[in-house]
């Protein structure tokens, strides 16, 4: 059974159909990339999967559960985490606190426990803090836990935004251009991180524009154009697909 199954997914904004009749599956453990020209509906698709938009029609089934129309926080609680295209972090917060917030949905804390500092509550907070530190060392930010998030470099902020989502303990991670806006040397570091996440048995769905990277890292690729799926397959199949070359890759890519 597929981890995520999308069938007949459509989203229209007034007269514009941003995503139209989309059908695809993501298998547990694979890395699926979604590519396509600007305005193809990639980010809209992520917003639909993350519950930010409600679909006009169609269904999203995750882990055997119907997730269509769930609120964003319910989607996350069921195991789909997502990062945003624009780096989104709590700029005024410390690095550690940011990741703690990501982990907090797993903590059983209450108002009275917090105010009376009950041992159960302190234990939960301690557990959350330890878990957050674990994740920070996983993404390579362990030495920066007391820094204010907004003072980090763009690359470190990207790592932080990913670690905040990892803290929610997703089964499926939606990464929206994780290497956007960082320089060339830093890209390989971030891609290493994506590889590392994948090894920790998290299924990844990736939106990227950097073709060399997409081709090398993906198990499968889906190509969108004007909200429709125009191709699906292994990197090699997609790279040789004539419609994809015409719509997106350009002739240079034709083998």
């Amino acid at each position: 059974m597929a981890l995520l199954e999308v069938s007949g997914l459509t989203k229209s904004f007034g007269g514009l159909t941003a995503v139209s009749e989309l059908n695809f599956q993501i298998q547990a453990g694979e890395l699926l990339s979604i590519i396509g020209p600007n305005g193809a509906g990639k980010t809209t698709l992520f917003n639909l999967l993350a519950g930010i938009y409600k679909p006009t029609s169609g269904t999203i089934t995750f882990n055997g559960m119907n997730m269509t129309g769930c609120n964003p926080y319910q989607v996350v609680r069921n195991g789909i985490g997502r990062t945003f295209q624009r780096t989104t972090i709590f700029r005024q917060s410390t690095v550690l606190d940011s990741v703690i917030i990501g982990q907090s949905l797993h903590a059983k804390v209450g108002v009275w426990g917090s105010v009376l500092k009950t041992s159960a509550n302190c234990r939960e907070e301690q557990k959350t803090r330890e878990k957050a530190r674990e994740i920070l060392s996983f993404v390579g930010l362990a030495d920066k836990e007391n820094r204010i998030a907004g003072s980090l470099t763009e690359e470190a902020q990207k790592r932080l935004s990913i670690s905040m989502v990892l803290a929610t303990e997703p089964k499926l991670l939606l990464l929206d251009e994780p290497t956007g806006g960082v320089n060339l040397e830093e890209i390989s570091g971030l891609m290493e991180l994506v590889g590392k996440i994948r090894q920790s048995e998290i299924t990844i769905c990736l939106i990227e524009h950097k073709m060399r990277m997409v081709m090398s890292i993906s198990d499968r690729i889906i190509v969108l154009n004007y909200g429709k799926k125009i191709a699906e397959g292994t990197p090699k199949e997609v790279a040789n697909n004539e419609e994809v070359i015409r719509a997106y890759l350009g002739v240079r890519y034709a083998a």
């Binding site: 993350a50 945003f84 989104t88 907090s104 903590a107 907070e125």
Partner: protein, 332 residues
Amino acid sequence: MEALKTAYSSKVVAWLLVLILAIVIPPIAGGYLTSMLILISIWTIMCFSMNLIYGYTGQLSLGHAAFLGIGAYAFGLITVKLHFGFWPAFFIAIAITGLLAFLIGIPALKLRGPYFILVTLGFAVIVGVIVLGWIDLTGGANGLAGIPRPNPIPLPWGTKLRFDSLLSMYYFILFFLVLIGIFSSRLVHSLVGKTFIAISYDENLTESLGINTMSNKLLSFTMSAMFAGIAGVLYASYNIVISPDVTHFARGMDVVAYLIVGGAGTMAGPIIGTFVLMAIPEVLQIMPYLKTLINGLILMLFIIFLPNGIIGWFNTILGRLLKSGRVVNGPA
């Protein structure tokens, strides 16, 4: 780490010093000053209420005067018309305030930014009109009289703690102020508080991390309203008479001014802000009708020049001093 420990212990010392001053000064100071300090303490509780919902959760409510009014009138009506004792009436009044805040919060907190602010303002105006207009229940503009002071509390060694003097009433109110201060401090430093703060930074991001922002905002709003309800009950019991003035929405805006001037989202801000903005007009003997005008001017100046308030400004200066100190004393 050493520097952190020193900073922490000096903070504790500063708080204890303030508390000792608050305990020691009134007996020496005399009746007028004590009654002034009682009012300042009540409005500081209001300011802690505003701090929770606005300073820490980022939801500006201009309608908090309504919750003070609901607390005060609920307490007044339960004691005067239903003849309940002080403590049952106290808890019922707080529960009613919390329940109403919860019910208003469900639709209001779905709105964000200016829309939420407008709903809270509208709510305060409506409550004000009801209190003024429902004469059979509230006594209308004549107000409600005969509200009791707290019942004497029996002490283990035989005597009773009485609250008929001004001074004892001051300590009674100070006790609740300290309680609410400690409650707030512990709450905002816990994971629950961190969640509130995260919502104030970026609600969408918080929700995308699996947090039900709506229920967290509702929790913060309800608790904040209950603080305001406590302030209302204390005010009613201290003053014995309440009039529709206590629910006037402009009083809710005053609290916002106190908080911003003191420093929103800090623990000392509500105390400093309320004290400064309430004590200065009193010392300078400013006409009551000019107070609101001057409050407004001070608020505008602070929003332009010191948006983080007195405490925020103080922390910035302190941070700079610590930094330069580290450079001087550093191992380099």
